[in-house]
């Protein structure tokens, strides 16, 4: 059952990767990265149980905590970028 769940998550990861490669805007890519991060947390939790060593959930916990930083960094980058190049459109 873990294997079925992990397979579904992996297929979703592949879909997210496709979206990240296709774009077209940078926000689509960031969205894909964020989605991929959530799926990674789920996959790591499931695999920890599949391998029978649930004491390795620390890794999933680490991702759950700090995956968010990437998106905020992007938000700040875009904000500074718009401040510097006001009027110029970004990500198209």
């Amino acid at each position: 059952m873990y294997a079925a769940t992990a397979t579904a998550i992996l297929v979703t990861m592949a879909l997210a990767l496709t979206r990240a490669l296709l774009g077209p805007t940078i926000y689509d890519r960031v969205l894909a990265v964020n989605m991929f991060g959530t799926k990674t947390v789920l996959l790591l939790s499931v695999i920890a149980f599949l391998n029978g060593r649930p004491d390795f959930l620390d890794l999933a916990l680490a991702y759950a905590l700090i995956n968010f930083i990437g998106v905020l960094a992007v938000l700040k980058f875009v904000q500074d970028y718009t401040m510097r190049h006001s009027g110029e459109e970004r990500g198209q």
Binding site: N51, R53, D55, F56
Partner: protein
């Protein structure tokens, strides 16, 4: 199945050479550094591939289970430190690129060489 066991060793050169290709063919210095990180990641992958042992688990000893096999801890030690060293050296490279960009106004290698030639 026998051949699939070598898949890691096939992915390793592909990643390694993708990184090297980025370093060789791209003039953009940040792209070169990204290529370098990928090259580095490929080496990490090779080392970690070697530590895997069938039926093993991560080398954190379980009390009361003396028959348990553990993966090889030595490559893990090397790569663990190498990852953090990698980010520190990447930061150093990026700092140099920032200074180059401030001095030359560009981070494209050929334009920099063009300016140097003048």
């Amino acid at each position: 199945m026998e051949l699939l066991g070598l898949y890691n060793y096939w992915v390793f050169p592909v990643l390694l050479m993708t990184g090297l290709y980025a370093i060789m063919s791209r003039a953009n210095l940040i792209k070169k550094l990204i290529g370098l990180s990928m090259f580095q990641a490929a080496v990490f992958l090779l080392y970690i591939t070697m530590d895997k042992i069938e039926g093993g688990t991560a080398p954190i000893l379980q009390a009361g289970n003396p028959e348990q096999l553990y993966s090889n801890p030595l490559p893990q030690v090397l790569i663990l430190t190498a990852i953090v060293v990698g980010i520190a050296t990447l930061a150093l490279g990026l700092a140099i690129v920032v200074r180059i960009s401030e001095t030359y106004g560009t981070i494209e290698e050929d334009e920099i060489q063009g300016q140097d030639a003048e």
